[in-house]
Amino acid sequence: MRDWLEPLIALGLLGAAGFSDLVGQSAVLWLNWVSPRRFLLCLAGGALLFVASAVTWALGLWLCALLFHLPLSLARSFYLVAYAHVPQLFGFLVFLPHFGAYLFHLLRAWVFFDLVVAVGWTTGASLPVAILCALPGWALHFSLTHLGWAWDLVPWRRLAGRK
């Protein structure tokens, strides 16, 4: 594969996964009375934040791998994190009523275990070590890309009086 193609594919994959994830969680934007223009801006901005957050995860993974003396370069860490996000392409399904709420957690867990398996496979690390390497970055990534905090901003008090 050409040298420039792999990072491009990884970035594209992360961007698409981030956009899909944001579409799935977009209910919170509607409920906060966001205008159509700002809605689209939020989706685009959110996808960029998602990529940045995944890069942070890759960085965390690389640092942990260094700590455990695992043969893992920074670039390879980034690719592993990016490819682990393939299930997240279905993140838009989180928009589904009722089932979406469960799917959100299922996809997050799936991405995490994807990375654990990939780290174990690539570096020959044992399962506990692979989990320890993947966990800190994942926790940060999960917190940064979960829009749960935005629910507190929804003007619920006006529910009964909404015209």
Binding site: A27, V28, W30, W33, F92, F95, L96, P97, W156, A160
Partner: protein, 308 residues
């Protein structure tokens, strides 16, 4: 795979793809209204009626509903029987519970022509494949109502429409009886907290074969009375199956809290099925003592309302 097997497989895949498409689209109506992207349709209201003593009943139909104005002949018959038993009864039966804005399927919608076409064929050939899309749409709205993310917006919209109709019927803060069939039960429970907040009145839910989820609105309902036929196995069980908050193990769920508070009451009402010729509104099928099913349903609901 045989030729028939391949076609059946394709049909099966098409069914699930269609279900997914309908389900994904179902939150849009409530969200667009809530976000202010779409104004609710302006509807001419009839002049308000003189204030009355009631009782006040709101009828919410099942997931086969098409609009507030359209109720099946059997359901109309049931409501007529109910009115005959309760002098002074005022019934709100023109709210379409499967829309946050009380917008019927033949109202101001993008796919209006499709819904009207389906309804036309449904009336010509009852209980056929044309029902499927309408039922799918309404199940999608029931899921929206029960979802913790979309539910507050959706249910407040329905509550607003119901409150408006009740006030137009001469409502004066008497207890409200939400008489529901099938999926209408979830909508009733979902909107109960908002209806209570708007009208400041006790809210009772009476259901015939009600499909209940683990909606936290159940805590705002003063009493739930569910009548269930002994042949009505599947539909009421769907709520239990899909919503873990209904399970006994979910000790602190709103459903189990309401159960412990003694708000929930179940009664078996004979060999009645959920749909078909032997359902709760059947005037032809009779119990062993000769009472038609519809007659019995009206008697049971009237008795609950009379007891207050």
């Amino acid at each position: 795979m045989s030729w028939i097997g391949e076609r059946l497989w394709l049909l099966w895949c098409f069914f699930w793809a269609l279900s997914l498409f309908v389900a994904l689209g179902s939150p849009f109506e409530a969200l667009r209204w809530w976000a202010g992207w779409k104004r609710p349709p302006a509807e001419p209201l009839p002049p308000p009626e003189a204030p009355g003593d009631g009782p006040f009943v709101v009828y919410l139909t099942g997931v086969a509903g098409f609009s507030g104005d359209f109720l099946s002949r059997r359901e109309r018959g049931f409501l007529e029987r109910l009115k005959a038993r309760l002098p002074g009864l005022r019934v709100v039966d023109d709210v379409f519970p499967y829309s946050a804005t009380n917008n019927p399927l033949d109202g101001d919608r993008l796919l209006r022509a499709l819904w009207v076409w389906l309804q036309k064929w449904r009336l010509r050939i009852p209980n056929n494949v044309f029902d499927l899309l309408i039922i799918m749409h309404n199940i999608g709205q029931t899921l929206v109502s029960s979802d913790r993310r979309y539910g507050p917006a959706y249910n407040s919209g329905v509550a607003r429409a119901v409150a408006q109709r009740l006030q137009q019927k001469g409502f004066q803060n008497q207890p409200i009886y939400l008489v529901t069939y099938s999926g209408g039960a979830q909508i009733a429970v979902g909107m109960a907290p908002y209806l209570k907040e708007i009208l400041q009145s006790p809210v009772h839910v009476i259901s015939l074969g009600g499909v209940y989820t683990d909606d936290p609105g159940i805590l705002a309902v003063d009493r739930v009375v569910d009548f269930k036929g002994t042949r009505d196995h599947i539909m009421p069980g769907v709520g239990w199956l899909l919503y873990p908050g209904r399970w006994r193990a979910a000790f602190f769920s709103p459903w189990n809290q309401a159960r412990r508070q003694g708000k929930l009451h179940w009664h078996a009402c004979g060999p009645i099925s959920h749909i078909g010729s032997g359902d709760y509104f059947s005037a032809k099928k009779q119990l062993a003592d000769g009472t038609p099913y519809a007659e019995q349903s009206a008697n049971l609901v009237a008795a609950v309302i009379e007891r207050g």
